[in-house]
Structures are given as structure tokens and as C-alpha cells.
């Protein structure tokens, strides 16, 4: 298939920058206005993504009405960096892929903003929270709307900054501050790959625009194209918390729960998948890089699922699950043209049900005085009926219960994985079983009968402002797959040069059947251990099992980083500080000391005795005379 040349955006599309500008302006107002905006800040902050969403719908409708060949619209804005042969402009590209993201980001984003009005109601710094959220939305929209890699990178770092600010929103907690810093720094390691990839593009094509790179990458040698792909993968690993740069995501749960829902589940962490799909031409030119994507995806989906099984912190279970689900998306993206649309499909449905469950978890925490330990929950189904029902919808979606959202998107991936390689397929299958296990465990520990509440906790359902978003997202988790299944592959395929097949709503295959069985097995095992008749200890039992211990310690991701990077790094830093003081500065000061020592010695010649001065003078005169005489003779 030929790559699509975008058409120039005119008329309505020349205002596409408003999509980004509205939340950005709102963020600026909220962050600069000071206390004066405390009373209405959250309303302005909520209005901004809603406006963007409406705009997004308008553009989407316009694209829907167009011919397939004209659905990629390019809106150049202005010259950014022109130097030498480079001419990097700031421009937007609205096509089938980006508009899906725009709707997801602003749609789910708006709901989460609404939810936050209630969730953050008692926080004195709520206005600032909304400012940061708006900043995030603006940056994320820039990321998906950019028409070239460098502008994408601006959005990429912008969401990183917003994520940093929001994870560390409760900065007075040292753990939050540490987690925020860790997220940013680990992301920067990924950005290292991103930056070098963009540099390579500029060196190769003198341009970083998607159009030029896609057109030129075919002429690049395979090793270079593969390098480019691997570098982009490194970037994607950082942002999407894929192994080996996964360690920040679990700590990122220190942020307020709406942040976890919006940034660390629904949108930002999926940016890596977007990047890979967007760079499809590069991965086609460097097939080895695609294989690496598959490996990363597969490893992460198991890795995340493993962690999900061993956590008692409800948010960390969901975080592990997010990691794992993004692993699925990566896997799909790595498979190539047959997988791209499925990756995005799963990304969208995951956006619905994971945001739903995170917000649900927030609602639970709200009820339980911000306790996150599932061992202190139990019997919440009755106390929090709306939360329970919506959460259940998300649960059924994620495990792939028939006709729920995840059923369509995830099973397609598992199937495509089997077609690509039986190893990846098997791992994806196992992952589905494990997902069913740990999600059932979460549901049982949280909602099934058997109170293990701490003293003084009186669970109550959250206010309407929080439950309405839950209901909307819950509904989306139910019908999202049904609605999108027949349509999204056809919609996306032209934009990503994909070859994904559209499957019917009722579509039985052998693999599908096996998947169902595996999922059922996972649920059964979970009931066996955590069923309603089981007594769940309300403190985490000690264990000698190396497997459980490994899971509780995030499979030693942090321990590894600490041993390999942090401790040697600290040692090197300390050594270098000493080196700088002792050697570099030592030489400078030493030179000074030697000279002044020499001078003070030389000073003694000056003894103050007139007669010795006279002697020296005579001797000097004699020497000068002698030289003159000798010179004359010679």
C-alpha cells in the first residue's frame, strides 16, 4: 500500500490549533491567577477539555464525511527551527489515527476532570491540580496531533512534565516527591532514545516530518532503519512503562487517583503504542526492530500480570495490570500491519475500562478514608453499589468476558499473536489467564462479603459528580467493543498502512475458545484462594516463597536499578566530587602554593643588610661587565 499524502487543511481545519490552545490557555490562567481563582478554577479547568472534545467531535464528523484518500489533513502553523538544510515547522496532522486519540483524550479526560471536582473537593490546592491536568491535556493533544517527530517530542516531554507535577502533587510526602522524580528520570532515559532517533532522522532526511520520514525510510539501509526503530522503541518503553523501563509506573501511584486514571492508565502511558504505530514505515524498513517490539510487549505483559497478582494495594494491582495491557498493545503493534489497528482498538477500550476501574478505585478509597490496602476492604458491594456495578463492568471488560469491550480488542490481539509466532501467542494466552486471576482476586477482596474494615471507617457512596463519570465509563466498557469492532479496523487501516482484518461481532475460533477456557481457569483459581468462604488475613502474611516475594518486590526491578545504576552512580559521583576537589582544584591551588613557597624562600635573599646588597650589586655589575667584555672578544 502506498503511504497517504495528507491534504492541506483549510477552513475549519486551520483552526485545529484551538484543540491544544484551549486547555493550554486554561492551564496558564489557572496557574497564574492565584487565589482569586480558587472558587471557579475547577469549573474553568473542566470546561477546557470539554471544549476540546466538542471541537474534536466536529473534526471527526468532518473526517467521517470525507473520502478515504482525503482523511489525512495537514495544518502547517509556522516555522519553528530553520537552520541549514533543516526546516522544522510546527504543524498539526489530523488523520484517522490522531482523531481517535483526540476523542479518547478529551472524552475520557473530560470525564476525569468532572470526577476530580468531587475527588479533590477538600484539597486546598484544587485549582492548581486542574491547572496541571489542563496542561497535561494540552501536551497530550500536541503529542498526538503533531505532524513531525520534533513537535511530537515537545508534547512527549510536556506530558512527562505534567505527569511529574501530578505524581508529586502531594509534594510534602517524600515518597510522592521521590516517585515523581523517578518517573521523570526514567522517562528521560527513554527520551534519550527518542532524541537520538530524531537526530538520526535529521541526519538522514534533513527533516523530522512524518511524511518525509515515511517517504525516505525505504531508502535507508536496513541496519540504520533498525537502529531508528530500536531507538524509538526505547522512547516508547520509557513512556509506556515497558520492560526494562517499567519501574516508575508502580511508584507513580503516589499521585491522586484521577491522575492515575487519566495519565497512568488511559492516555499518557499509551503514547508509546501511538509512537510505534505512527512510525509503522520505520518498523517495516527495519524488521528486527519489530521483533524487538514483540519481545518487549510479550515480556511486559507477563511481567505486569505477575506484579498484579502479588500486590495488596488496589492501585498497584491496577498499575501492574496497565503495564500488562500495554504489553498487549505493544505486542500487537510489533506484529506489524495486521496488528496496528488492533493495538489502537485495545488502547481505546483499555482507555475506557481502565480509567473506569481507576476512578472506581478512587471512589473506594474515598469511602475507606484513603486506605489503599485491599486487605482492609471487603463487603463493599452493598456499601458502594454504583461503584461496584461500574467496576464490575470494567472487570468483565478487562478479562475479556464475551461481548464486553476487552473481549473484542484483546482476543484479536491474541489471535494475531498466534499467527505471528506461537511463543508470543502462548504468552499472550497465559497473560489472559493471569489477568483473569488477579482481577478476580481484586474484585473478591474488595467487594465480596467479609468486612475487614479498620476502625472508624464508614464507607459511603461517592457524590454524583464522581459517580456519573463512573457510569459513563462503565457503559463504555460494556458497549465500547461492540460499537467499535466492525468499524475501527477499516477506519485505521489506511492511516497506518495496516492490514488488520475486520471480524464479525460473533466470531468463534479455536484460539478464541481456548482463551475463554484459560480465562475461566484463572477465575476459578482465584475463587479457590480468595472466594467468599475463604478467610483473608488483614495483614499481608509473611511468605518464604521466592515467587511471591519477587512479585511483592516488583520482580526486583528497583533492586536491579539500584544495584546496577544507582549505587555505582552515587559512588562515581562522590568519587568525582572528591577528584574535582583534590586533583583538579588541587593542581590549581598546588601551583599557587608552590609559587608562593618559592617566593617566600627567594625573599630571604633580601636580608636588609646594606653591605650584602652592595656585594650582590657589585657581583651583578661584574657579571654584566664580563659578558660585555666576552661578547666583544668573541
Amino acid at each position: 500500500m502506498e503511504s497517504v499524502t495528507p491534504v492541506l487543511g483549510t477552513g475549519l481545519f486551520s483552526l485545529a490549533w484551538l484543540l491544544i490552545a484551549v486547555p493550554a490557555a486554561s492551564a496558564a490562567v489557572l496557574l497564574l491567577i492565584g487565589r482569586a481563582g480558587d472558587r471557579w478554577g475547577h469549573f474553568l479547568g473542566t470546561l477546557a477539555p470539554v471544549v476540546s472534545f466538542v471541537l474534536g467531535v466536529v473534526y471527526f464528523a468532518d473526517l467521517l464525511g470525507r473520502d478515504e484518500a482525503e482523511r489525512a489533513v495537514h495544518v502547517p502553523l509556522y516555522d519553528w527551527i530553520s537552520s541549514g538544510t533543516w526546516n522544522i515547522g510546527v504543524g498539526l496532522q489530523l488523520d484517522q489515527l490522531s482523531i481517535v486519540f483526540v476523542l479518547l483524550i478529551t472524552g475520557v479526560g473530560s470525564l476525569i476532570h468532572v470526577y476530580s471536582i468531587g475527588y479533590m473537593a477538600h484539597d486546598p490546592r484544587r485549582r492548581r491540580f486542574f491547572g496541571f491536568l489542563n496542561l497535561f491535556v494540552a501536551a497530550m493533544l500536541l503529542l498526538v496531533l503533531a505532524d513531525n517527530y520534533l513537535v511530537l517530542f515537545v508534547g512527549w516531554e510536556g506530558v512527562g512534565l505534567a505527569s511529574y507535577l501530578l505524581i508529586g502533587f502531594w509534594q510534602e510526602r517524600p515518597s510522592a516527591a521521590t516517585a515523581a522524580k523517578k518517573a521523570f528520570v526514567v522517562n528521560r532515559v527513554g527520551d534519550l532514545g527518542m532524541s537520538i532517533a530524531i537526530m538520526l532522522m535529521l541526519a538522514a532526511f534533513s527533516s523530522s516530518s512524518f511524511t518525509d520520514v515515511n517517504a525516505g525510510v525505504g531508502q535507508l539501509s536496513t541496519p540504520l532503519a533498525t537502529t531508528l526503530g530500536l531507538l524509538l522503541l526505547l522512547g516508547a518503553c520509557g513512556k509506556s512503562a515497558q520492560v526494562p523501563l517499567q519501574s516508575w509506573l508502580l511508584d507513580a501511584m503516589e499521585g491522586p487517583t484521577p491522575v492515575s486514571a487519566l495519565i497512568h492508565a488511559a492516555t499518557m502511558v499509551t503514547a508509546g503504542v501511538y509512537l510505534i504505530v505512527r512510525s509503522h514505515a520505520i518498523f517495516t524498513a527495519g524488521p528486527a526492530a519489530s521483533i524487538a517490539v514483540v519481545v518487549v510487549g510479550t515480556v511486559t505483559l507477563l511481567f505486569g500480570a505477575y506484579i498484579g497478582c502479588s500486590k495488596d494495594d488496589i492501585k498497584k494491582v491496577l498499575a501492574g495490570s496497565t503495564m500488562s495491557q500495554i504489553g498487549y498493545m505493544m505486542l500487537a503493534a510489533g506484529i506489524g500491519p495486521v496488528g496496528y489497528a488492533f493495538a489502537i482498538f485495545h488502547l481505546v477500550t483499555h482507555g475506557f475500562f481502565k480509567a473506569n476501574m481507576f476512578l472506581g478505585a478512587g471512589s473506594v478509597m474515598h469511602a475507606m478514608d484513603d486506605d489503599v490496602d485491599m486487605r482492609h476492604y471487603g463487603a463493599l458491594a452493598r456499601a458502594l453499589p454504583i461503584t461496584f456495578v461500574t467496576f464490575a463492568a470494567g472487570y468483565l471488560a478487562i478479562i475479556g468476558f464475551p461481548f464486553f469491550a476487552g473481549f473484542y480488542s484483546k482476543d484479536h490481539i491474541i489471535e494475531a499473536a498466534f499467527h505471528a509466532s506461537w511463543v508470543a501467542g502462548t504468552c499472550a494466552l497465559i497473560g489472559a489467564g493471569v489477568t483473569a486471576f488477579y482481577m478476580t482476586r481484586l474484585m473478591l477482596m474488595t467487594f465480596a462479603p467479609g468486612k475487614r474494615w479498620r476502625e472508624g471507617v464508614h464507607p459511603h457512596e461517592s457524590p454524583l459528580v464522581m459517580t456519573v463519570p463512573l457510569i459513563v465509563l462503565g457503559a463504555a466498557s460494556v458497549v465500547g467493543g461492540l460499537l467499535l469492532n466492525g468499524w475501527i479496523t477499516e477506519w485505521l487501516n489506511p492511516a497506518v498502512q495496516g492490514e488488520a482484518e475486520t471480524e464479525g461481532l460473533i466470531h468463534f475460533t479455536l484460539i478464541g475458545g481456548v482463551t475463554m477456557l484459560v480465562v475461566l481457569a484463572g477465575i476459578a483459581v482465584s475463587f479457590l484462594f480468595f472466594g467468599p468462604q475463604k478467610v483473608i488475613p488483614d495483614v499481608q502474611p509473611a511468605t518464604r516463597s521466592p515467587f511471591v516475594r519477587a512479585g511483592r518486590r516488583d520482580l526486583y526491578g528497583d533492586a536491579f536499578n539500584e544495584a546496577v545504576f544507582m549505587r555505582p552512580g552515587i559512588r562515581m559521583t562522590n568519587d568525582l566530587v572528591r577528584f574535582d576537589g583534590a586533583v583538579v582544584d588541587g593542581i590549581a591551588n598546588g601551583t599557587g602554593t608552590v609559587i608562593s613557597g618559592f617566593s617566600s624562600r627567594l625573599r630571604r635573599v633580601q636580608n636588609g643588610f646594606v653591605r650584602s646588597y652592595a656585594l650582590t650589586m657589585t657581583a651583578g655589575a661584574a657579571v654584566v661587565g664580563a659578558i660585555i667584555l666576552l661578547g666583544r672578544l668573541g
Binding site: R603, Q606, N607, G608, V610, R611, A614, T618
Partner: protein, 98 residues
């Protein structure tokens, strides 16, 4: 003819130099300096005569003026030192140093 004057000048200068380096009495050392100055004056005049130019004689006048000024200042210093230290030995004073 002028050679004799030059030789005389050299001898006077040598006497002055040796005297200055060997004698401790400030007054004597001072007179040795004067001796050296006048030895150089003699040489200047002798050369001037030999070359038939007046430069050397003019220089000699300058030296005399400087020597006179020096005597005024130098003697004053010596007298002051003698007053404060009760000694005119130049080895007793070693203040001329850093």
C-alpha cells in the same frame, strides 16, 4: 694622557667599592659612596675631554647635584639612626627588606 685619568678613576672607584663593602661605619660607607660617585665623575670628564664633546661634563654636573642631594638626605638618615640606636654601624640596621 687621558688614559691616566681613566686609570685613576678606576682605582678610586675600586677603593670606594671595597671600602663600602668592608667598612661598617655608616659615615665611612657614605664617604666611600661619594668616592665612587666622584670616580665616575672623573671618568666622565676624562672621556668628554677625549671625545671632544661636552656631554660627559654635563653629566658630571648632574651627578654632582644628585650627590649633593644624596648627602643631605643620607646624612639626615644616618644622624636619625644614630640618635635612635646610639650606633652608626650599618650592620645593626636591617630594616631594608620585605
Amino acid at each position: 694622557m687621558t688614559d691616566h685619568y681613566i686609570v685613576l678613576s678606576a682605582i678610586l672607584f675600586a677603593i670606594g667599592t671595597i671600602g663600602f663593602m668592608t667598612r661598617r661605619n655608616a659615615i665611612v660607607a657614605f664617604m666611600c659612596v661619594e668616592l665612587m660617585l666622584n670616580a665616575s665623575n672623573l671618568a666622565l670628564v676624562a672621556f668628554s675631554h677625549k671625545n671632544g664633546a661636552l656631554d660627559g661634563q654635563i653629566a658630571a654636573f648632574f651627578v654632582m647635584v644628585v650627590a649633593a642631594a644624596e648627602v643631605v638626605v643620607g646624612l639626615a638618615i644616618i644622624v636619625t639612626i644614630f640618635r635612635t640606636r646610639r650606633s652608626a654601624s650599618i650592620d645593626d640596621a636591617n630594616l631594608l627588606k620585605f
